[in-house]
Amino acid sequence: MEQPRPGAPAAQLPEGAVSLLDREGSLQRDERFARYLPYLDTLIEDRMRQMYRWMVTERRLDREATSLQRQGQLALWVPAIGQEGAQAGALAALHQDDWIFPTYREHLMALARGVTPRQLLLLFRGAAHAGWDAEQHRVQPYTLVLAAQTLHATGYAWGIARDQAGWDQDRRAQDGQITLACYGDGASSEGDVHESMVFAASYDLPVVFFCQNNHWAISVPSSTQTRVPLARRAAGYGFEGVTVDGNDPLAVYAVTAWAAEQARTGAGPVLVEADTYRVGAHTTADDPTKYRTAEEEQAFAALDPLTRFETHLRATGVLDDAFAAEVHDEAEQLAAQTREAVLGMTPETIGTLDDVFAHTYAEPHPLIEEEQAWHHQWQAGFADLESAPEVAGGESTVPVDGPEGAPA
């Protein structure tokens, strides 16, 4: 068993990190961050309420999904609690047609872009490779191969750059697209991130690298991944990197909006490191008490982005009890819908694994066809299916294709 090790993260921002809301939720227009303040002024109240709604509903869905996993309804869940502020701030700073290349934890971004709970959770039920149409939501499928999405985002940005070659500044600012390459502190150690940044810098690509440093790469603290704030690595590639308080949705918004404009108008990539905290486990298969202390968790819990944001919104009159109650009702409804959707993922409604084979390649592929045929054979070869056609709940293996229905 691993013991909590020295070098565990402290609930203190690195020097120079952009922070606008203090811990008590009051806005400090620090002149050191003058570059970002104009962007903050473009954030209208409706948008702030929307960010609040995203954060509350995501957190509620997150809890429901954790429960559903504990009840045997999902193979896995990846909690994002604690990172809602970072995700809401970044998302609000994007244009509607900017592309998001997520890890497997950007639930808020996916939901806010219109992905339904059912679509989101099909993956975690093991019933789909990706439950949604990437093009429709401009959210790529979750990428479980650590850091691979940063390459995809960079490659896509290359395509955008070529499409937009010859555009003038105005047109770029108006209609230009960017990609948001999401990754975490753990993924920052992968070669993919390095390659992405080299390439993005070489061609001035319109990509914003958005690192949510939640301080724990499963059980490895961020202090082991890096000696300096991750944002500083950007300097080595020749572009700007900014560390921002990831538990401050307004600061994340302002910095990301600035970064997005840089990328959008042809100034090349920018790295935004949102310094946040993973309040829960890495996944439902992880037990964080084995590698970090309760004191540390409490210290970070005090930084909760939702509490801080709500305090600010209430203090500035953007949010009142009625709106908060409405959003919480909405969150409860969403949780209920989520449960219903997951319990409704029966073999009849989620289809077979054939869908997965069908969408691996755009066209028929002989190897995939072989594998599919092999899978059918395998699927038909279970003794319990032969003797007792009714499958009892709670098999010891988690079939990826036909999760058990509701318990008998």
């Binding site: 068993m1 691993e2 809890r63 429901e64 429960s67 996993q69 504990r70 009840q71 045997g72 309804q73 193979a75 896995l76 499963i218 059980s219 486990a281 890495h282 996944t283 439902t284 298969a285 992880d286 037990d287 008490t289 084995k290 590698y291 449960r339 755009a362 066209e363 002989p366 190897l367 072989e370 594998e371 045929a373 092999w374 054979q377 395998w378 038909a380 070869g381 279970f382 003794a383 319990d384 032969e386 009892a392 709940g393 709670g394 098999e395 010891s396 293996t397 988690v398 318990p407 008998a408």
Partner: protein, 556 residues
């Protein structure tokens, strides 16, 4: 009553220990209320209730490790709360979690199948506990297992679902079968090659008759004339050329891709398809594309091969009928490897070295007799003796008397080699190679015979190493093996002389005014005039001829 079975809360966990019940029988619970805490090999977690209702049964006592899928709690949902179930009802009075001594359920408590299964499990566990004084249980491996962090390797042996004994074709790994099916419709060009009546029979016939005296199988006509292609000409292009690539293009981007492809006149194909095409010797520019955006698919390559093979079959041999487009009847062979090297070498040599060629007819009857004698000599037992051996020895002997033929020309200097690395041109599966026998001048006749045999065998097996071909000083090409009288050889680059050995056959020859049959051969030689003038080349060839006429001179 709803039964909640132990879920897999990790990834592939098979069991867990109930460490604490947070509810008691009779409690009312809502969905997601915490029921109990369990410990797996990976973590300590709380299980939330999937049901709202009243707790009726706690089916596993605290401290017990049970398998995933084991029923752990029964909850009467609100709708059925009033419906009296006698079994659970009896226990409803107990506010304590099921005690080890009191099996929470027995097979009799419920008629429903799941409950009876749980009863058996719990019952067995309880007995075990009683026997062991509730300390050690056979089914409690958690204590001996190191707990894992994160989503590391699985801690538990995976339990498999039982399978039928049906020997399903599933036993065959998908990849293997995929490969085999892929190759079936797409045979390699090898059979096609065999199908073609290449010049092979002619070669055999030739080597059986007059050239029988030339037993060196590596007879090499190609220093003279390039050998027929290593890939015999049996792979003509298909009957149909690629008509405009691609079918329907779904999007503007498709058009763009096609336009770009057209501009570069490049082929669109994924790397695996390119690899297959390369392996099968298919020129992708000749393949009709049916894939998205005008891309060539694997099926296209297979179809192309099938079509080509069909066409070759129909044409019934090497010649192909006139289809109106000779492009279809023209085979294109990529110049590469040995072919490319040979081409470059002979072109360079022919361009740079002014060749002087001279020929001499020789009565090699004594050489033939000498060869026969050596074959019978016990010292040469097991060693292959051929006229080429005598010629090699003759070249070494003659070069010592005319050393400038064993040399290299540079623009500033003539490098005369006081050693001989004797090159032997060889037709090999890879094409023309000229490996050389290092320090041939130091070898006895027997040693030379052994080296010659080994060199030709390695060449024939395609095992000639690059260093064997480096640093040659003079070469021999044995064109007589195919029954050819003589030709004009091209000097191996870096050398200044090459000797061509024509066929040996009986011819009428005038000896002392009488015409009698003798074993006659013709020797040819090409020399780099920058180094070797006519006089020297004549002396050298005369010396070689002298040995062939009278091998006994070697004793000199």
């Amino acid at each position: 009553m709803e039964i909640f079975t132990l879920p897999d809360v990790g990834e592939g966990l098979t069991e867990a220990e109930i460490t604490e019940w947070k509810v008691a029988v009779g409690d009312t619970v809502a969905v997601n209320d915490v029921l109990c805490e369990i410990e797996t090999a990976k973590s300590l977690v709380e299980l939330p209730s999937p049901y709202a209702g009243t707790v009726r049964e706690l089916m596993v006592p605290v401290g017990e490790t049970v398998e995933v899928g084991t029923p752990i709690i029964g909850i009467a949902t609100d709708g059925e709360a009033g419906a009296g179930e006698s079994g659970p009802g009896d226990e409803a009075g107990s506010s304590e979690p099921a005690a080890p001594t009191e099996p929470p359920t027995t097979p009799g408590t419920s008629g429903d199948q799941v409950a009876s299964v749980s009863g058996q499990v719990s019952g067995q566990m309880s007995e075990a506990e009683q026997d062991a004084g509730s300390t050690s249980q056979p089914g409690q491996p958690v204590q001996t297992q190191a707990a894992l962090v994160g989503s590391g390797p699985k801690a538990d042996p995976v339990k498999r679902r039982p399978r039928t004994n049906r020997p399903a074709p599933a036993a065959q790994p998908p990849h293997a079968s995929a490969t085999s099916t892929a190759s079936e419709p797409a045979p390699t060009p090898a059979p096609a090659r065999d199908a073609a009546p290449a010049p092979a029979p002619a070669r055999e016939a030739a080597s059986q008759t007059p050239a029988s005296t030339h037993e060196e199988g590596t007879a090499e006509p190609s220093a003279l004339t390039p050998p027929s292609s290593p890939n015999p000409p049996a792979a003509p292009t298909p009957p149909q050329a690629p008509v405009g690539r691609g079918r329907k293009l779904p999007a503007a981007v498709g058009n763009a891709v096609q336009d770009v492809a057209g501009l570069w006149s490049k082929v669109l194909a994924k790397p695996p398809v390119r690899r297959i095409a390369k392996e099968l010797g298919v020129d992708l520019t000749q393949v009709r594309a049916t894939g998205q955006h005008g891309e060539i698919t694997r099926t296209d390559v297979e179809n192309y091969l099938a079509e080509r093979d069909t066409y070759i079959e129909q044409s019934g041999g090497f010649w192909m009928p006139d289809s109106g487009d000779n492009e279809h009847r023209t085979e294109r062979i990529k110049v590469k490897g040995v072919r490319r090297a040979t081409a470059a070498a002979v072109a360079q040599s022919y361009r740079e070295a002014p060749h002087v060629s001279i020929f001499v007819d020789v009565d090699a009857s004594r050489t033939m007799e000498f060869v026969q004698r050596l074959k019978k000599n016990p010292d040469f037992e097991g060693v292959k003796v051929t006229p080429l051996l005598i010629l090699a020895k003759a070249v070494i002997w003659a070069a010592a008397r005319n050393p400038h033929v064993n040399a290299t020309w540079t623009d500033e200097e003539i490098l005369v080699k006081h050693y001989m690395n004797l090159g032997i041109a060889a037709a090999t599966p890879r094409g023309l190679l000229v490996p050389n026998i290092k320090n041939a001048n130091e070898l006895s006749l027997r040693e030379l015979a052994v080296e010659l045999t080994a060199l030709t065998k390695r060449a024939r097996d395609g095992k000639t190493q690059p260093r064997e071909m480096a640093d040659g000083t003079i070469s021999i090409t044995n064109i007589g093996a195919l029954g050819i009288d003589i030709g004009t050889p091209i000097i191996n680059p870096g050398e200044v002389a090459i000797v061509a050995f024509g066929t040996i056959k009986q011819k009428p020859w005038v000896v002392s005014g009488e015409v009698i049959p003798r074993w006659i051969t013709t020797l040819g030689g090409s020399f780099d005039h920058r180094v070797v003038d006519g006089d020297l080349s004549a002396r050298f060839m005369a010396d070689v001829a002298a040995i062939m006429e009278e091998p006994a001179l070697l004793l000199e």
